[in-house]
Symmetry: C2
DNA sequence: CAAGTCTCTCAAAGCGCTTTGGACGAAAGA
DNA sequence: TCTTTCGTCCAAAGCGCTTTGAGAGACTTG
């Protein structure tokens, strides 16, 4: 029975508007059952198109918003995703984490999803994951900072909870859902550019050696060198947290080497910051005396184009990654269209002023040294 | 009727352990009503001490954890706190935000509280707050990045939702709950130290001018100068986002001034990063040619003691602030002991190597210039 | 000794939603 | 014409917790 809204109803409507309507009131207002209204809202097929329109219209007018707690209880879905945030003292990932989170949040808020943020010592992440899942109030988990043969992957599989990995482990089958950038290719291409510019001795300021991304980046560098018959000198490699200070000291060490590298690869613009500082201090000119390519996570606080000499970078937005991961995670939870399980993004190689031809060894202009 | 646990019960117990016990099962196991068990767990007085002990023991053995969604529904409390994260493109607060969030999360996870993180353009924060509150699934809100006469305070008051402000506005009554550090005092004391060291011309690399903290820091500087009969030259002040790049360019500008300042106050170690770079580039020695004091939020990625010349700082941990705010917010929601509504923390002035006596004007050693 | 007080416990009524298992006509097939 | 099948809709049973209102004993009190 369909009835036009009378004066009484409008009064109810106004009250409802003030004090948050619930499903019952809404259905009474419409002269429908809660079932039908609920179905209309959740896109079930067994409801008349016209009825659905009426419902949607009433929702707009009353400002009805389903109570998330009730939904969660009824569906058994927690409506929130877990986040393990590695934050030991001195742990350098905060900058990157904040940016990533912004992306996650952007997407999550659109679906009314919440976060359970669990800070944890990096060495304790496994236990934290377990605890988080056991708590029962997340229905998906996100993990990052993958290491070689990372035990968390197996753990999460065994816990049978939807999860997505940012990055990829190494040395275990990659049959889990991930989003990663092609670090190998990125650093391979960057190296190739440097080699094309005549650089023969290239150094690497990398992240901590136990992280998969760091391993891959080094591999990319080595592969590209090998293609030109060159080898990576281990003295030209530094693994360290990606802070300004490590960038500075690392670069300084490189410059003190008997055979000084002519080009540097940096795993982060934060590292590059320190590296450039060391370069300036040594009186070397970026882009001519020394070339540098950094990986750019697109941190708003540190733009490569704003460096005194704009930096050539391999770019991939951390924030977009966060947003994408949230989208996939939520789709997974809601059983919507199945998005691809595994994604490998390509970083863009953007050339700016920090790269240039290798300086010619004095007195031997334009000739390659023999042997 | 109190019954010892029989074989059947232990079987039930084992099953329960595997598949998450609920209150009903737990109460059956104990031969008590759900009411009593619930009360025992929530610390109500009308339950026998011995009974409570029995309940607690069973909880330990079964690993019972109340279903948060059900609790939320029954109590009407959302069990989560809202976070408006300002993240416009180029907005520089990420570093600080991440660190702060770690503190928040630390405390929140202890009480099973969730977050609703709502990224928002800084200029749109008011609307975002409104939307967040209206969504009905937060029961407290946290806001930061206070501006002069910030309209959000009045807004939140009118929305009658518990909230805490990180920082304090200026120009409106401070009768709302906040946690702030005494920025005026911090920069006053820092300035005083510099003046005692003989510095007469002091510059300020500050955060954006519309932020209350920036206004207060400038005020502190001016007050301390005034006490010694000195004035702040507006040419020696820069308001800008707190990025490395702005630190660099700002310092460069200062150094180009006809009357160059002998000391610099920095609102962030990130600014100091760029400032120090400019100093090095100009061939000036930090701590002797120029003194510098930075405010240190205790970011793990950027420690003042690790700078090539360790930085004198005014220190106050952002992370502790986050943790404290979460604690107060949660106490507020749960109506626990009433923690103080307003807190003003004092920043510590920690002297390291970046401060030293003012360089003597050439040819007039140890004498003050007349007039 | 009846009446009042405590102390401890319980049954049952929600909280606001989803979802199961029909019900009731109307259209379609036998 | 009588069954089937749809297409729409509904009543009611949860989801797992908190909380109200009361009851059964045990203990005081007048």
């Amino acid at each position: 029975m369909r009835v036009a809204l009378g004066r009484e109803d409008f009064k109810a409507l106004r009250i409802a508007k003030a004090s948050n309507v619930n499903l019952k009131q809404l259905s009474q207002l419409l002269g429908l059952s809660q079932t039908t209204v609920s179905r209309a809202l959740n896109g079930y097929p067994e409801v008349n198109a016209e009825t659905r329109e009426r419902v949607l219209d009433a929702v707009r007018r009353t400002g009805y918003r389903p109570n998330r707690a009730a939904q969660r209880l009824a569906t058994g879905r927690a409506g929130s995703i877990g986040l393990v945030m590695p934050t030991a003292h001195g742990y350098p990932s905060d900058v990157h984490f904040g940016e990533f989170l912004a992306g996650l949040g952007d997407e999550a808020v659109r679906h009314d999803f919440h976060f359970v943020i669990n800070p944890s010592h990096p060495d304790d992440e496994e236990a934290t994951c377990k605890r988080l899942v056991a708590s029962g109030n997340i229905d998906a988990l996100f993990i990052a900072y993958m290491r070689e043969k990372d035990p968390r992957v197996a753990l999460l599989k065994s816990l049978s909870i939807p999860f997505i990995v940012h990055g990829r482990s190494i040395g275990i089958p990659t049959d889990y859902p991930y989003l990663d950038i092609d670090n190998t290719a990125a650093f391979h291409d960057a190296t190739k550019l440097l080699v094309q510019l005549g650089h023969r001795r290239i150094a690497l300021l990398n992240g901590p050696a136990h992280f998969a991304f760091a391993i891959r980046r080094k591999k990319g560098l080595e592969a590209a060198l090998a293609e030109s018959g060159l080898r990576l000198d281990e003295a030209c490699v530094q693994h360290s947290p990606m802070t300004d200070e490590h960038g500075f000291s690392g670069m300084k060490r490189f410059l003190d080497l008997p055979e000084r590298p002519t080009a540097i690869l940096c795993s982060s613009t934060v590292l590059a910051l320190g590296a450039v500082r060391a370069l300036n201090q040594a009186g070397l000119k970026l882009g001519s005396d020394v070339s540098l390519i950094a990986h750019d996570d697109v941190l708003p606080m540190l733009k490569p184009e704003n460096f005194s000499v704009p930096l050539t970078t391999t770019r991939s937005s951390l924030r977009s990654a966060g947003s994408r991961i949230a989208k996939r995670l939520i789709a997974r939870i809601l059983n919507l269209e199945t998005l691809p399980e595994q994604e490998l993004w390509t970083a863009e190689l953007i050339v700016r002023a920090s790269t240039g031809p290798a300086p010619q060894p004095a007195g031997r202009a334009n000739r390659r040294s023999p042997g």
